[in-house]
Amino acid sequence: MASTSDAPVIVAEGLWKSYGDIPAVRDLSFEVRPGSVFGLLGPNGAGKTTTINMLTTLLPIDAGRASVAGFDVERAPEAVRQVIGLAGQAAAIDEKLTARENLEMFGRLYKMPKPERRARVDELIEQFRMTEYADRTVSTYSGGQRRRIDVVAALIANPPALFLDEPTTGLDPRSRVELWEEIRSLADGGTAVVLTTQYLEEADRLADHIVIIDRGTVVASGTAGALKDDLDRDVLEVHFASVGDLNLAVGKMAGVTDDYGTDETSSKLTIPISEGSASSLALLRRFEDAGIPIVDFHYRRPTLDDVFMSHTDEVITGSGRSK
């Protein structure tokens, strides 16, 4: 599958999709080359799943075109289905079958020859540490075990194009890291991967290229590093002892800047610091002078989270931004 050339495996050109009058995806274009992981980020309802469903022949495309491995998604859906693996956002396995039977069934439907299929099923069960429960019906699995077999099912036929819609949601930290390693090694083997995620750390670690979409359209794109550099500002985080102290501190922000976020659960104030704005030291001194005790503070480079927040409609820390 590490194909002869470096031509893109997955191509989306000006994709549009509306549900009724409501546009879900607007003029979305991107390319994914063999051996690379493409991260599709965006808040809830941004159009990630809609995009994946169009690319995997599940949803008709309103306008634009898409192809996988050179096959047009709309004109040759049956060819496309032979070269893709999909782990959708919603579980798509047979609950009444065991994990082994599910993998066996999907392997058959991909028309894998029997010896190869059997070997691959055993290999995947072993590799993803599912041996203990692989012969129980899926309906008895825990949420994370279920998610794991769902994602593993997409890998059965070693497809050259892999679509993973929030693959690690519900996995414990160890399983998540293992899946990351697996996705990375698949990509290193030449697979083109489209990955959506809400865990920006995941995109940061895995994705070679990231596109942030909001309301169906691209708001930022680049490598994780480039996106962070583009943000061109550092971040000051100040932790207070209580929400009461946090609110006092917010009061002291009046007249300084209104570009900040609050996180009430951890009594944290987050303030972007860029050239020309108040310095961190001045801000900290301001709180101290007002007699608001500071528990802890960090001055840090922006993370992908900050990039995400700054480009999408949500304010720096969600519910934050008082008044």
Binding site: R81, E95, E101, F106, Y110
Partner: protein, 265 residues
């Protein structure tokens, strides 16, 4: 940019896919049935229920009125009714399938999409064979007799074939409605009246003329009459031909219809 190695399936490929995938889905549905044995027993229990109810409650009256050996009349009718219960389960089973997430994966796989329905109709028909044989065994205990072995085989084959055609009707309803409870409820309105307004349980001679015109020609009656002729070893007349015509006609209509309804996202 086109990749010449990965194939766009030819007509031959598609045919091969359809057969292979139907076998795979049949295998899957049979595993599911084995894990929910109540699904098998339900159709059989319904069949036995009708057999005992009609024989002991109505048998005396109907038998006296028509002068026929009622158990000999009733068992072939109950064969057909049992197969119809199986078809009804195709309907609810497929509606359940369509509500399950695995359908979304099926839609994204390089498989014959009609196989999802075809596999289920085949699995349900295999289950029907078991059901009809069980009903026949109880019928034998109650005094029912096959005229010949070939008659028995023919009767069971015709019953299962009619059930198979009805499975595709049930699949079409399921693919349209996609709600198992709704599908189950709906069957009360078409399947139940059709069962009673037929020659499955009683000869149609006692029905009023307008009803008789319907009852004599509808598929359940022609199937029951044809099966009866096979079990009794009497000449079937036009019943067998009518039954075969119904089977073929229903398949011609409902195979493409259910496939089309299923393909909607």
């Amino acid at each position: 940019m086109t990749n010449p190695t990965a194939p766009t399936p030819t007509v031959g490929d598609k045919l091969r896919w359809a057969i292979q995938d139907t076998a795979t889905i049949t295998w899957r549905d049979m595993i599911r049935t084995a894990r929910q044995p109540e699904m098998l027993s339900f159709a059989v229990v319904m069949g036995l229920f009708f057999l005992l109810l009609f024989n002991y409650v109505f048998g005396g009256a109907i038998g006296a009125g028509t002068g026929v050996d009622y158990i000999q009349f009733l068992v072939p009718g109950v064969f057909v009714i049992t197969a119809l219960q199986g078809a009804q389960q195709t309907s609810t089973g497929l509606a359940q399938d369509l509500a399950e997430g695995v359908i979304n994966r099926f839609r994204s796989l390089p498989m014959s999409q009609v196989a999802v329905i075809a596999g289920r109709t085949v699995a349900d028909s295999l289950r029907n064979i078991v059901g009809v044989i069980l009903v026949a065994l109880v019928g034998l205990l109650m005094g029912f007799r096959f005229a010949s072995l070939w008659g028995a085989i023919g009767a069971i084959a015709l019953t299962v074939a009619m059930g198979y055609a009805f499975s595709w009707l049930g699949a079409s309803i399921a693919a349209k409605i996609r709600n198992a409870e709704m599908v189950g409820m709906l069957s009360m309105f078409w399947l139940f009246p059709m069962m009673l307004a037929s020659s499955a349980f009683t000869p149609t001679s006692a029905m009023p003329g307008w009803l008789r015109a319907f009852a004599d020609n509808q598929p359940i009656s022609v199937a029951a009459d044809a099966v009866r002729a096979l079990t009794d070893g009497t000449p079937a007349g036009s019943a067998t031909l009518s039954a075969l015509a119904w089977i073929v006609g229903m398949l011609i209509v409902f195979v493409p219809l259910s496939t089309r309804l299923y393909s909607r996202p």
